[in-house]
């Protein structure tokens, strides 16, 4: 439909961390949790409480830090140090609390009245078995296209995080073997699934990086203890050396390749 290169460069409108979406490469460590997620209250109600101390909730397999909601404000009750209200976005209602520390905060909440469409940014908190939203920013909506746009973004982000999970079924079934004959079939079917996922999923690795890592994962490359010289990679892939160097630097920071006898020889870490 859209070229996968278009989707790569779009990188989820800032909501998707661009390095973490390739299923065959992703391990928990390389998948950064997104800084902000647009969500519906229904999605929040389906969140799983994670045992991780850093964040409390997991949605679509991703640690949720900050969320954005668009909906109608209700039941606004102003107290001394905070303002409590509920947000109803049409999929459900969630209790929110906005701590008011200074005049700027109180001015912000003054503008909000019951039945008014607002956009809130906040952090999910579990409290007495319920999920609440601790709001750090609330703003009335003036252009109502924001309503449709927010829900489109919720759908898009959800789609992006779900796709790799569906696709990971392909790569998980390919076992990683250390002996050569199995490695041949593993790397070739791994290569196929990479091509397949390259077409359909949002791919964190660019084309050249993929070719480099694929070349380094061939059994002939893996068999060489001293690794492969980057000139050889450039020659074999028919790609200019600077591009190879960029690709290798990026793969190295991902932990996928390492340099061996000198800075020009590289090997894949998956050997």
């Amino acid at each position: 439909m859209f070229g996968s290169s278009q989707l790569d460069s779009f990188s989820g409108g800032g909501f998707i961390s661009s390095q973490g979406a390739d299923p065959s490469r992703t391990s928990a460590k390389s998948r950064d949790s997104p800084p902000l997620l647009p969500l519906t209250v229904k999605q929040i109600s389906q969140a799983i409480q994670s045992s991780d101390e850093k964040s409390n909730f997991v949605i679509d397999g991703v640690d949720v830090n900050n969320v954005r909601l668009v909906g109608m404000a209700y039941k606004k009750s102003e107290r001394v140090t905070d303002v409590a209200f509920a947000i109803d976005d049409g999929t459900g209602r969630i209790e929110c609390i906005r701590w008011v520390n200074d005049a700027v905060d109180s001015k912000e909440v003054e503008e909000v009245s019951d039945g008014m469409y607002v956009r809130v940014h906040g952090h999910l908190k579990g409290f007495q078995g319920k999920i609440q939203l601790v709001v750090f920013a609330i703003r009335p909506i003036t252009d109502y296209n924001e309503v449709a746009t927010h829900f489109l973004e919720c759908i898009y982000v959800h789609h992006c995080y779900r796709k790799p999970q569906i696709q990971s079924g392909h790569s998980v079934s390919t076992p990683s073997q250390t002996d050569v004959p199995a490695a041949v079939s593993a790397s070739s079917s791994g290569h196929n699934s990479n091509q397949f996922s390259g077409n359909l999923s949002i791919d964190g690795l660019k084309g050249i990086e993929k070719s480099v890592i694929d070349y380094l994962e061939q059994p002939s490359s893996l068999a060489q203890e001293k690794g492969i010289h980057r000139n050889e990679i450039a020659q074999q892939l028919k790609v200019p050396l600077e591009k190879i160097m960029d690709a290798v630097a990026s793969l190295e920071s991902e932990g996928l390749v390492y340099s061996t006898i000198d800075e020009c020889h590289y090997k894949s870490t998956s050997a």
Partner: protein, 107 residues
Amino acid sequence: MDTSNPAVFVNAELLRLHMGRRVRAVIQVMRSDGGGTVTGQSTDGQQITVKGNPPGPLTTFVEVIGIADGIHSIRAEMWSNFGDTLDTFSYNRICLLANGDYKHLFI
């Protein structure tokens, strides 16, 4: 947190699938007679009737949330003025997606 009473995004076509349930729709106001009925064009170009008295003057686009009580009619509980310009195509796409592949995010 309460997800027991969602309002489904609908256009005129999808309204018939949610009879008796709480729905939300954006209409472009065509006629509003004083007797508690507003006729408008839904985001897919078809006409629907909204019963109820709006709380005040209406802008060109209005979102109504209420109960679907006919294949082309909604009994409104709430009215929100959406202004005089709105991208109905996007809103219509939301209606289709929220009733289709991404239903689980909404209802």
